[in-house]
């Protein structure tokens, strides 16, 4: 099997790398393969995983190594057989985008990105149209009240094996979290979404049941704010999404602001730790979730790792000791278990926290030293 980026023809590699590094969402390439009978030729087709509605859509992009001047072809997923992006509005097909295929220029590396962006936008409209065609009064009402929200995405899933349901991905909080965290290194804009799933086709039910609700955030946000700690407000019978969302957003907005303000609290704590331990060997300057100090007890030298939770100071940091003199049989430095059962009070001043930890470690260091000399290979 031929694999590896060296086998991708340059005219495809340029388009693909531009797409992967400039698209506003995280696009992934699932697999690449060759059109050659024996799969030994250049890799000219690949499957793209494109985020949509808190899930992925898989599209196969078919280039042809025999005709590099030609625009690529796209094969959509098996459940989207009626998605025809260039025939959505039969009266007036958008000429500017027909051009993006007919005037395909393989030398311009941004062409694939333009095409995928256009196709994804059309896909949003296509799914919205499908959901709009569902014969369900509640759903029709919900759509009419929340359609004005920007960036809302819908998905209609209808598999043979599962019952029909409509999924909404509602972007929450019109605030730029990236800007709130100073010097953050996030490439993509951090967002929190509410996933709402309505089951469809149970007409006999008199009172519509509550939809399935779930908060989803971009994975990098976990460094500041853990979505799992948020308790969703309860859904009252007969409620609609437009009623539910303002309360949730208000609540969530406060939580996010608090979480961001906690970064400073953690920073003060790390600064306070520098008093008894000296300057940290390593510390996370953006989210202040980690810090490592060098400590010594007599001649025994060891590292102290602090893992500070997002709920700090309500939750105490987890401490882990790592010897700089003892190694196990795999030649890895010996580490202690994560320690989080030492004396703690969230009401202490940062300086007091640091001193109490230092006192605790003075005793713990002796235990750890004993553990090291027992576990060490001679």
């Amino acid at each position: 099997m031929a694999a590896g980026p060296e086998n991708v023809p340059p005219f495809i590699a340029a388009q693909l790398s531009h797409l992967l590094s400039h698209f506003r969402l995280t696009v992934k390439v699932e697999q690449m393969w060759s059109s050659d009978k024996y799969n030994s030729g250049p890799l000219d087709r690949f499957t793209l995983l494109i985020p949509y509605c808190l899930d992925f859509i898989k599209w196969d992009i078919i280039f042809d190594v025999e005709s590099p001047y030609a625009a690529p072809d796209v094969i959509f997923g098996p459940e989207d057989e009626h998605f025809h992006p260039f025939h959505m509005h039969p009266a007036s097909p958008d000429p500017s985008f027909s051009n993006c295929l007919s005037d395909w220029n393989y030398k311009d590396p941004s062409r694939l990105l333009t095409l995928i962006q256009f196709l994804r936008d059309q896909y949003v409209l296509y799914q919205r149209k499908r959901v709009g065609e569902v014969d369900d009064d509640r759903l029709k009402f919900e759509i009419s009240t929340i359609l004005s929200r920007e960036g809302i995405e819908m998905h209609m899933s209808s598999g043979a094996e599962k019952s029909e349901e409509v999924k909404f991905a509602v972007p929450l909080l019109d605030m730029n979290i990236n800007k709130m965290v100073s010097c953050c290194s996030w490439r993509y804009s951090q967002k929190i979404y509410l996933q709402v799933v309505y089951p469809v086709g149970r007409k006999y039910m008199t009172a519509p049941s509550a939809p399935r609700l779930k908060l989803v955030s971009s994975p990098e946000l976990k460094a500041v704010f853990s979505i799992d700690d948020v308790k969703l407000p309860s859904w009252v019978d007969g409620m609609c999404l437009a009623e539910y969302l303002p309360n949730l957003e208000e609540y969530l907005g406060k939580q996010v602001l608090e979480a961001v303000s906690l970064i400073e609290v953690r920073r003060h704590f790390i600064e306070a730790l520098a008093n008894p331990f000296g300057r940290p060997v390593e510390a996370d300057p953006v989210f202040c979730r980690k810090a490592t100090f060098l400590a010594a007890s007599g001649v025994f030298t060891f590292l102290v790792h602090f893992l500070i939770p997002t709920q700090f100071p309500k939750q105490q940091p987890t401490i882990m000791l790592q010897s700089s003199q003892h190694f196990n049989s795999q030649m890895a430095p010996i580490k202690s278990r994560p320690i989080s059962d030492y004396p703690w009070s969230p009401r202490w001043e940062p300086l007091q926290m640091a001193e109490r930890i230092c006192e605790f470690l003075a005793d713990e260091a002796l235990n750890f030293k004993r553990q090291c000399s027992e576990g060490q290979v001679q």
């Binding site: 059109s35 009978k37 078919i62 190594v65 005709s67 072809d73 094969i75 025809h84 260039f86």
Partner: protein
């Protein structure tokens, strides 16, 4: 302008086979046009009223025209003896679903092909592909047929029509239209011993002669004896058969001897013409045949020609 729905699509075995052959030997994807005819299936009688509404049209693909050029256009549809039915696309290692381009092409082709026709005819699309993940030395060909109607692909079953008892139903609607051959009746002219009879005798003689020739080839192994190869006798019969094979081998050996001799003779003739009185000419030929004249005027050959020929040439030069 709604196309009449098809019940199914049929393709003749040889057409499909040659289509797959064309696809598997081409370096990249191929496209092309399909030709054939649309017929009414004989209606099946049923008590069920719902069956009445089921489509009874059958499209049969009988020919195709392929081109590697992706810019197909119905305006450029070459005229063919059979009516234009649709198009096909064959692409390697890709999912067996119509792609974005194929949908657009089908839309434009079907709208172009409809305009001159007063009566709407069904438009079909045949998709051939090989699976994307496939152990590299097994070649799988998959195909799906669609009817394009109302702006969407409707999958249709594809019947492969071959010749044989299983396909007799397909020829059920066939009615022979050729006239009866002329029958000669009335008393034969002349007596059996006239020239008519002589002619018949000549034919019999010829047949007997042919049979003798055939028998000589079979070396006594006539059809009757071959039947003994089956059943309990077969074991003892193998010896006889081996003998036959020996004889056949001998014959082949004789034949190769003959071939060898004749080719030697051909080479000799070449040398005859090479050693012409024209010295310049012969020098040219010698150059071509890797021979050379030595100073004494003798012709010496490259060592690929045997001695016998050399002596022959010497005699000629003298």
């Amino acid at each position: 302008m709604d196309d009449p729905p098809l019940q199914k699509i049929a393709i003749s075995g040889p057409t499909l086979a040659s289509l797959i052959q064309r696809f598997s030997t081409s370096p990249s994807a191929i496209h092309g046009l399909l030709y054939g005819h649309v017929t009414d299936l004989p209606a099946t009688l049923s008590d069920d009223a719902a069956v009445e509404a089921s489509p009874t049209l059958l499209a049969t693909v009988t020919a195709f025209l392929s081109s590697p050029d992706p810019h197909l256009s119905a305006a450029a549809v070459p005229t063919h003896s059979a009516p234009f039915l649709g198009w096909f696309s064959a692409r390697r290692r890709s999912p067996l679903r119509p792609s974005m381009r194929e949908f657009s092409l089908t839309t434009s082709l079907s709208s172009q092909s409809q305009s001159p026709n007063p009566k709407p005819s069904p438009f079909i699309f045949l998709l051939l592909a090989s699976p994307p993940s496939d152990p590299s030395h097994i070649h799988t060909h998959e195909y799906r047929a669609f009817q394009f109607c109302g702006g969407r692909f409707e999958p249709r079953s594809l019947d492969v029509v071959n010749i044989g008892p299983a396909f007799r139903g397909h020829y059920g609607a066939f009615s022979p239209s050729s006239p009866l051959p002329p029958l000669r009746y009335g008393p034969p002219r002349g007596s059996p011993m006239s020239d008519d009879g002589e002619e018949r005798l000549g034919r019999l003689k010829q047949a007997a002669k042919d049979q003798r020739k055939l028998d000589a080839c079979a070396d006594g192994f006539d059809v009757g004896r071959l039947s003994r190869m089956m059943g309990s006798e077969a074991k003892s019969y193998t010896e006889g058969l081996e003998e036959l094979y020996q004889k056949m081998l001998l014959k082949i050996e004789n034949l190769t001897c003959l071939v060898e001799k004749t080719s030697a003779m051909v080479l000799e003739q070449l040398m005859w013409s090479a050693v012409t009185p024209d010295v310049v000419m012969s020098a040219k030929i010698a150059e071509k045949t890797h021979c050379q004249f030595d100073p004494s005027g003798k012709l010496t050959f490259g060592n690929f020609v045997d001695k016998r020929l050399e002596s022959l040439a010497e005699a000629l030069v003298e």
